[in-house]
Amino acid sequence: MAALSRVRHMKSKYCIFQAIFTSSKWRCQFATEAARKIDLPSDLKDDAQEGLPDDKPEKGYPAVKPWMPPGSWGEMTRQQAWFWHRGEINHMGRITHVKEKIKFLTDKQMVAWKFPPINIQPNVLKYQLEVTNTILASKDDKYLKPEIYQSVDIKTDYEELKKLCIEAIEIEHALHRDKLKYLAAAKDGRAKSWHALLRGRLLTQTILNAIMSGASRNHEHLQSCSVDKEVTVAACFQRNGVKRPWVPVSRRSPDLSKELYLQNNAMFQGKHVVDFQVRTSLPLPQFISPDHEMCMQADKCVPQYNPKVLGQFRELTQLEITSGFNLGSPNEFTHTSVVCEQLGRLRLVSGEEHWEQSHAGYGLVTSFLSCVAQAHVQGFNMFQDLVYPFTAQTIHTDGRTFRFSMFQLNSLKLWKDPKASPASNVAWISPADNLYEGLTDDRVIGFNDEVFQRLCQCLLLKPSSRDGIKLNPNVKYKAGTPKILKSVKKVEIEEEVVYDR
């Protein structure tokens, strides 16, 4: 046994010795050192050796890697911080095409918490605000509108648009559209939910057509906008404060260590269908400055409870990010989203308070997912944060009752804890209010001017570019434009032979 161990020891020494002498780098070093040591006569010395310095050359050590990467990382460990930093620089930084960026993020299946806009669990609004890192703008429980809407000019077209809207409602009721009179009693649960949805969509469509066609004469963005029906919007994001689900060792990737699997941020996936989506070529203006104190309150939005405790579900799903249109379309920014589901059955079964929370949360999450999807189309993601805030408007209506929700997305780095990233998002959600009371003798009664003004302000808000800021700084090749490869072979014609005929 001792002899065997000695042989193994000698063998290992020989292997090391052999390796040293076979590598060319070491051979050169040995040769130069050996030549320096031997004192040759002057006629045999090589000219090259005279130039060699007598002192040993200084060895160049690589730069010392800092403990943490540049930026603030809060309570993250060193390994976790470098993992995210490498993702930003090495992976995302090198991809310049939008489609490839989205593919890099979504080309995997993983266990993600479901985050649908329609959530019928009780007390769900607080949970949705915490997961989206959002502060609800309200004063003494009263709804506050963003101040930018005061600058929207509706006085010139107001009377004409009002007349068009009333005519549209009356015509829609007069036509043989199946039993629209049930909409007059919003709390009547006898109407089937899908019937109510269909009727709501028809009425909403006529109202929107009337307003947008009447106002497009004086508002350029309505002339070139795109309006689509039944659009799927999906987005995924990672949120700090929710632990990742436990993955058995046999299913873990060998490239990722245990520390990376135990991070305090979990994946959420939201997907839903928007009934109408208005898109423009420029983004909506920001509602509030990102430096405002309301946008720096991320410490108040930390998720307190595990989503499982609040009745949420998670599943193994393919991640998805879609903004509702094919990449390459000139109108890339969502102006307004309109949803018609009113959750009437929930109102009957669970009561007014429960319905109010779920209904408000519906508009909030719709706007949030719209903002996140828009940001991904412009090249921003959880590795490359936003350079300017994204804004979205959602109108929640069945043709008679309207609720308006506005959202401003300030940061996509929701996976960082509040100490590292204090930026928070802001939402404005109005209470549900009726546009008109009802119809008698085919005439609209109790038309609400306040609600109609808010509706016009939403649709007529002019989109604008951000002063001096490039809208997609992380993208070189826009989606739709062909990617030209660098390695194109050039054919050089040295001699052209012309044959006699």
């Binding site: 669990q121 009780p122 595990n306 009745g311």
Partner: protein
């Protein structure tokens, strides 16, 4: 052997509920006396809101059964119920060879347990933490235990008249 036979080995709270026929409108109402349903309140490991309570329930109870159990017997209105099945791994008994599985070096069997997260509509409940009794510190208890153990060994050695060389 009684009429139940092998079922007597399984405790009452683990027995499965026998299948009963579906009820259609017009049929006489089914009545089950002393059903095998049970619910046990459990202390949650994580932080819970005040209006959510964790129960361990019979595996065959549905969400409606859980809600009605609380509403009719304890008169507490329930807003929502979310159920979860967790598998408890235990060492496989010798008589249950068909349901065992190798996990590393151990042979385990998995017993499904059902937990229910019940959201109360009006009430609030916080699981009470038991009061800590005045206990001596760990080191003092260890010394006490060792003294008692020494005393037992002394008695045993004297009873068996063990020579001093072999005494512990």
């Amino acid at each position: 052997m009684t009429r139940l036979g092998f079922l007597e080995r399984i405790p009452l709270w683990q027995r499965t509920i026998p299948k009963y026929p579906l009820h259609f409108k017009g049929d006489p109402q089914l009545r089950v006396y002393l059903p095998l349903f049970w619910m046990k309140m459990v202390q949650p490991a994580n932080k819970f809101p005040k209006n959510i309570v964790l129960f361990k329930v019979h595996p065959q109870m549905s969400k409606l059964d859980i809600a009605q159990y609380l509403e009719k017997i304890y008169e507490t209105p329930v807003a929502n119920v979310r159920t979860e099945i967790r598998e408890q791994q235990i060492m496989a008994p010798w008589w249950n060879r068909s349901k065992k599985q190798w996990v590393g070096r151990k042979v385990v069997t998995r017993i499904p347990e059902k937990y229910a997260y019940v959201t109360l509509a009006k009430d609030e409940f916080v699981y009470p933490t038991p009061k800590k009794t005045e206990k001596s510190s760990d080191s003092e208890r260890y010394k006490k235990y060792m003294k008692i153990r020494e005393g037992h060994y002394k008695e045993l050695n004297e009873a068996l008249s063990v020579p001093a060389w072999f005494r512990r």
